[in-house]
């Protein structure tokens, strides 16, 4: 999955499942959309489903520092690179 496809999927998830309205790639997710650690954990479950494999604890812990959609995309790309299919 390339970055554009990932971006489209993540924005769809954020709008449909997390009640986001027109999120921008550099919006501060916490301040602008009320995205908190519980959301991050829910999002991780959706990322696992999307990628088709389970994330390690350490990988999940790293997700707690995500602040923007660009951070989410960087995070997923790094995970994909660490789990070559």
């Amino acid at each position: 999955m390339n970055r554009d496809e990932l971006q489209e999927k993540i924005i769809t998830i954020l709008e449909d499942d997390f009640e986001f309205s027109h999120p921008g790639l550099t919006d501060n997710l916490r301040d602008d959309h009320g995205f908190d650690s519980i959301d991050a954990i829910e999002l991780l479950a959706k990322i696992e489903t999307m990628l088709g494999f389970q994330l390690a604890r350490a990988e999940k812990e790293k997700a707690m520092s995500i602040r923007t959609i660009n951070d989410i995309l960087d995070y997923i790309e790094a995970i994909q690179a660490a789990h070559p299919s």
Partner: protein, 278 residues
């Protein structure tokens, strides 16, 4: 709100304060000595030998605080305690309640055999108490530092905990309410409800702040008050919307709380459906 007490003669106030001091010391003695010389052995055994450590610790917490509140009730006979008996029957649900005093979580722990709650992160660092709440599977309020992994583990296990009969109780205002007006509600609990699609019970608690006033060390056992806890409503997330909306859940709970504040102020006690706490 606590009423102003007029003492005539003034010595009667001192007498009352002595009674409050004795009751407070007796309760603290139970808290410290009861734990050290009785419950600690059970906690230790559960930690070492139980295959379901979290479950065992929650049950011990339930018994420990049931004893604490039983003692407090005996020592403060002027308080009329009325807890809706149906609250103890709640299972597999998220429970939200208004927050008036530090007695509130103890009451809920004493009512639910299997319980989790969200605890201020600073308490996790406290000696002994921090170990107890960690082992009981309680959730930290933030994900800073070491708490990130704990939060992930606990939220991931929440579905299994709730489906096996446990209750997650939360005070969505986050802190004790001191002015009677419902403050902003934290949305975290509603997000967990959205994830788990489980019922939300909204409870109303009255007058625990009269018995244990925020900022005061001593219990105030002298005022006649009716301490009550009632079920205001049960929300079924599935029935509300599909997919469930956190914003709508928060609005609905806020509206229920707003009505509660009126009913608590007007009646100062329990509704007709409330039965004496057995």
């Amino acid at each position: 709100m606590a009423e102003m007490q007029v003492c005539s003669p003034p010595q009667s106030c001192w007498g009352g304060r002595v009674v409050d001091f004795v009751v407070t010391m007796a309760c603290w003695s139970y808290f410290i000595l009861g734990f050290l010389f009785f419950f600690s052995f059970f906690y230790g055994a559960a930690y070492l030998f139980s295959s379901q450590r979290e479950h065992a610790f929650q049950h011990l917490n339930h018994l420990f605080f049931k004893g604490f509140l039983g003692l407090l009730r005996i020592l403060s006979p002027r308080q009329e305690w009325s807890i809706d008996q149906n609250i103890g029957k709640i299972e597999s649900s998220i429970v939200v309640c208004n927050h008036l005093s530090y007695l509130d979580p103890l009451i809920l722990i004493s009512l639910f055999r299997r319980q989790k709650t969200i605890v201020k992160t600073t308490f996790f660092r406290a000696p002994v108490f921090g170990w107890l709440i960690k082992t009981s599977g309680y959730l930290p309020a933030t994900t800073e530092g070491e708490h990130g992994l704990r939060m992930i583990e606990q939220v991931e296990k929440m579905g299994e905990f709730l489906s096996s009969g446990g209750n997650l109780f939360v005070f969505p205002e986050g802190t004790r309410n001191r002015d009677g007006k419902i403050g902003p509600l934290h949305k975290g609990v509603f997000k967990i409800a959205r994830m788990q699609r489980c019922p939300i019970y909204v409870l109303s608690l009255c007058n625990t702040d009269s018995l244990f006033t925020p900022g005061k060390f001593l219990f105030n056992t002298r005022q006649r008050k009716s301490i009550s806890m009632t079920i205001l409503d049960r929300i079924e997330p599935e029935a509300e919307h599909c997919p469930v909306s956190v914003v709508d859940l928060e609005k609905k709970v806020r509206e229920i709380f707003r009505l509660r504040t009126k009913s608590c102020d007007q009646k100062g006690g329990p509704s007709k459906q409330v039965e004496e706490w057995a």
